[in-house]
Symmetry: C2
Subunit: 243 residues, 2 copies
């Protein structure tokens, strides 16, 4: 048993965002991640498993594939027996109450995956991404979210029109902002994190007046900046520790 020619073609194409959009499908791999997605509101399209891994998925209709074929199609170094196609859900209506996290062109899939996991941990129910932020159904993002993808609402929007409609105070993360340890932070707010190399875009920077920074304690003061995912973790922690 093996993948059909057409299945192979589709799965390979799903590496690219435009085909994911066209087919309305994304790929997830690994027993842990696939199980979490199966238990969520995501709708399964096809579940490919090896004979050896099939005992983990007895309550699902599966297509048995052999390990060599799975390895060829997998994007993991050591595929562990399952590759699933899930349907990309329709974006839900955006909810801008509570604490909302906004990403202004975050490019790295690993960073986005880590940030989605952080949203889940800190109970951030709405993540808003600029349209030029990496796609959350990118396979590397899916793998690194470890299932959190199903528990965080993610919308891709033009940031300025969205921000113009927000009623909560807005904050950008910046190198020269107010010391976050000393800042008074409201319960309802919009926190905006910028691009890995360039930070916040000029348009957003012009629109948002509050900015927050994480103090640097190094003696030499040479570290250029924190990674966007670690900076996000510290800032979300600061908002939550005050509630």
């Amino acid at each position: 048993m093996s993948f059909s020619k057409n299945q192979t073609k589709v799965i390979n194409k799903l590496r690219q965002k435009k085909y994911r959009m066209k087919e309305g499908l994304f790929v997830a791999e690994g027993i842990k991640v696939v199980k979490e997605l199966l238990a969520s509101s995501f709708e399964l399209d096809t579940l490919f498993v090896t004979e050896a891994a099939s005992e983990n998925f007895t309550s699902y209709k599966v297509e048995i594939v052999n390990e060599v074929d799975l390895k060829k199609l997998s994007s993991l170094k050591s595929p562990n027996g399952v590759l699933a196609l899930f349907k990309i859900p329709v974006e839900k209506a955006l909810n801008s109450s509570g604490l909302v996290l906004v990403l202004d062109e975050v490019n790295d899939p690993g960073n986005l995956g880590t940030i989605i996991r952080l949203c889940d941990w800190f109970g951030i129910q709405q993540l808003v991404c600029s349209v030029n932020t990496v796609d959350c159904y990118n396979e590397k993002v899916v793998q690194s979210t470890m299932g959190s993808l199903s528990r965080v609402a993610i919308n891709y929007v033009d940031l300025l029109p969205f921000l113009e409609k927000c009623a909560s105070p807005m904050y950008i993360a910046d190198m020269v902002g107010e010391n976050v340890y000393e800042a008074k932070l409201p319960k309802e707010a919009v926190l905006i994190m910028g691009n890995e190399a360039n930070g916040i875009s000029d348009a957003v920077r012009d629109y948002v007046t509050n900015s927050l920074s994480i103090p640097r304690f190094g003696v030499i003061q040479a570290t250029e900046s924190l990674n966007v995912a670690t900076a996000t973790s510290i800032l979300l922690s600061e908002f939550r520790r005050r509630v």
Copy 2:
């Protein structure tokens, strides 16, 4: 001009820790990272640059190589013109005063790189790694530290004998520890972070009595744990914000 047969062999071998130890060399790539290391106390062994990138290194003795050959040897997807061999320095005497971060079998090179950058940011001058923690001269670690590698003292030791000699209070990061937001934290302390999958080892857990946890705010409470690098960022931030 190209790499000699012997250079090619050495550079490829340096992917493995045992050859790095034997040769006393590690590989760094990319203009930014190599420049930071050149400006640091690391001692250069050989600097390979392409003709196009050579203008960045006019004050150094370089070996010009062609782009195709560099690409073959590079571990980067898009090598940007420079590959350098640096000498692995002798480990300095361990300094256990101040705030010391200890890693108990952190395996992922990206996590270690991020943690080294965090140490640099938060002014942690001593990072202590268990002998089974990933090697800090692993090429992926070197790339992800973005130069911070030169500013943080890193020692690999047997953790228990080290901890037995520490005078400062010790804390493990754990899912069921004291809420870090409410904990009184001393200025001088040893903070111990565990393995990505298994957390703190039993031997260390038996020895250290204080534990700290980061509260979870999600409604569903399903996120299993924070990534070790993001958890480290929040805990270091908590220690520093009280100073």
